[in-house]
């Protein structure tokens, strides 16, 4: 009973936060669209000449059609799949690597810290496009290159955040107390320090999701990422730019779709920050 009410209150707290609510609703729309893409549109994403080429938006073709008469709306919502899946993969990889390195650097300090932070600084200092470029130089364009390069580009932010939280948590008495209660280092890291990093990390994860979506789109746009015929958003926009003089809808509508998705994560991130970040909580205490 009591616990039920507690969970209730927690859910209510999240629902009461407007930014979080808007963000998660927007995201829900995108997830539903991408999951049920085949049910929502009757066309295949690579089906050519389902209608006349370069047809402006209409009742049948919501976002119009491209040069080969493919339905843009279908392509865009199939693009959502690619985008969300790759962003999720990138974020998880970044999270795993970044957090682990951050924990090691922050907890053990000394030489390990020096070494990890130098490496992290270097990845941080290279513009992410440059990292993408280097990866493409080595192993050619493709989804895997996108994942590798964006993971390399974004894991440092997790490391930095984890490390800074660990450094402040490590100095708190409860970590010293844990040592006195006989906890092993692994236990201290995973039971005492990591749970206290989570709120900051979750906020960061939602931000990295949005960065990953943007990054994937940009790399694909440059031709370093996902290649046609896969309907990645970057690819769509790349193909559409040639028609921007006469068929601006081909550029604007898919672009708005990206903005919508990224915005959902940014809204969620902001909401989570208000809910979880102790610096914001303090304002009301």
């Amino acid at each position: 009973m009591k616990i039920d009410r507690k969970i209730d209150r927690k859910i209510k707290k999240y629902i009461n936060n407007k930014k979080f609510l808007i963000g998660s609703c927007m995201l829900l729309v995108m997830v539903v669209l991408s999951l049920f893409a085949p049910l929502i549109t009757g066309y295949g994403y690579d089906e050519t000449f389902v209608g006349p080429a370069l047809e402006p938006p209409s009742k049948d073709y919501w976002f119009g059609t491209d040069r080969l008469g493919r339905d843009m709306f279908t392509r865009v919502i199939y693009g959502t799949r690619i985008s969300l899946i790759s962003a999720l993969t990138i974020t998880s990889i970044c999270f795993a690597i970044g957090v682990l390195l951050g924990l090691l650097a922050g907890y053990y300090g000394g030489v390990i810290d020096m070494f990890v932070m130098r490496v992290v600084d270097i990845f941080f200092s290279l513009p992410w496009v440059l990292i993408g470029l280097l990866v493409v130089v080595i192993r050619g364009p493709g989804l895997l290159s996108v994942v590798i390069s964006l993971s390399l580009a974004y894991f440092p932010s997790f490391t930095r955040i984890t490390r800074s939280v660990v450094l402040s948590v490590r100095e708190q008495d409860f970590v010293i107390a844990a040592r006195l209660t006989g906890e092993s280092n692994a236990n201290i890291i995973f039971r005492y320090i990591l749970p206290n990093c989570f709120s900051a990390l979750i906020v960061q994860a939602s931000i990295i999701m949005s960065f990953a979506i943007l990054g994937e789109a940009a790399l694909s746009y440059l031709g370093y990422g996902i290649r046609p015929p896969e309907p990645s958003w970057g690819v769509l926009l790349q193909q559409s730019t040639n028609y921007m003089w006469d068929n601006s809808y081909l550029v604007i509508l898919p672009g708005l779709f990206i903005v919508f998705t990224v915005l959902s994560f940014n809204f969620m991130g902001d909401g989570l920050r208000d809910l979880l970040d102790p610096r914001y909580k303090r304002a009301y205490e």
Partner: protein
């Protein structure tokens, strides 16, 4: 290991001999090292079995460093610490056994417990780590301990943020006592609490000390709290013990001028009192050679700036480090 655990209790239970601790700068630290002054400088004290020693001093006098050294959290530069007749160097090889016998309570009940753990886990973790007990035994000891410190079963499933400061401090006390230690180190356990809660915690500690046959090192900046709880009191100034005596003696007949200053500084209610000291700190000067208190002392003479006084016995169990203690 079992040898040392089953040893009869040695009296004094803890004995610190000539302890010196110097904090070194880390290799890449930004700050230039200003002080090479040791944080603790040749401190010796004994904690008798079932006795309570109070350490009083102002911030930076090294009292917390002593606690850290006893708990093996800093490496002393010199001197030794014997617990139950065995040196800490041998205990270092067997930390778990040591920590099951020596426990600590912290100043800030908000930072000394993990906010992401339930109270029952916080309190019972030491049992999991120190002993191989069945879950029934653990539950039994858990319930016995929380009753001792005045918590209820309802508290067990809560998270720390649902408790007030006093409640949290009870949790830390329970965590420290669940492994049934024989020595408890308390580092300012009440200074973050409100006065009415402080009284409750002090009463609790006093009762527990009796019931569980605890020896205790109690560290505080507040003399009246120390007086309430301790059998004998050490006064520290800049890393050294300047005066130590049994409680009554120290309160009635303190000889060191720093002790006098501490007593004079205490607010004492509306009763106007003739004061021996006009406290004016000026800048806290550091005296390199002589008595470290000399720059602030009204009795300081040339001798005080030139040679540092030793801690000498001036009465039964009454030690004082002052050239002019008479």
């Amino acid at each position: 290991m079992s040898e040392s655990m089953n040893q009869p209790i040695h009296d004094p239970i803890l004995s610190i001999k000539n302890l010196t601790v110097v904090y070194k700068d880390t290799l890449f630290s930004l700050k230039k090292s200003r002080f090479s002054r040791p944080a603790v400088d040749g401190v010796s004290l004994d904690v008798p079995h079932r006795g309570t020693i109070g350490i009083v001093g102002e911030s930076g006098c090294g009292k917390s460093t002593i606690a850290k050294s006893i708990l093996m959290m800093t490496e002393p530069c010199g001197g030794e610490i014997l617990f139950n007749g065995t040196g800490l160097d041998s205990w270092r090889r067997n930390r778990l056994a040591y920590y099951s016998k020596v426990q600590m309570i912290w100043q800030d009940p908000f930072s000394s417990i993990n906010p992401k753990m339930r109270i029952q886990e916080i309190i019972s973790r030491p049992l999991h780590n120190f002993f191989h007990l069945s879950s029934d035994e653990i539950a039994q000891r858990l319930h016995a301990t929380i009753r001792k410190v005045g918590l209820t079963e309802d508290h067990l499933v809560m998270y720390p943020h649902e408790l007030s400061g006093g409640g949290r401090q009870r949790v830390t006390i329970a965590r420290a006592l669940i492994s049934e230690p024989i020595l408890l180190i308390a580092d300012e356990p009440t200074s973050a609490l409100d006065v009415s809660i402080q009284a409750q915690i002090l009463n609790l500690l006093k009762e527990l000390k009796q019931d569980m046959a605890l020896s205790m090192v109690f560290i505080s900046h507040n003399i009246s709290v120390v007086e309430f709880l301790c059998d004998s009191i050490c006064v520290m100034y800049m890393g050294r013990i300047v005066e130590s005596a049994p409680r009554e003696v120290l309160v009635k007949d303190h000889r060191h001028w720093y002790t006098t200053l501490l007593f004079e500084s205490l607010p004492n209610g509306p009763r106007p009192k003739e004061r021996k000291f006009k406290v004016d700190l000026g800048e806290l000067a550091v005296c390199e050679k002589g008595c470290s208190f000399a720059p602030r002392c009204i009795r300081a003479e040339k001798l005080c700036f030139e040679s540092s006084p030793d801690l000498v016995e001036i009465g039964p169990d009454h030690f004082c480090a002052c050239h002019f203690h008479a």
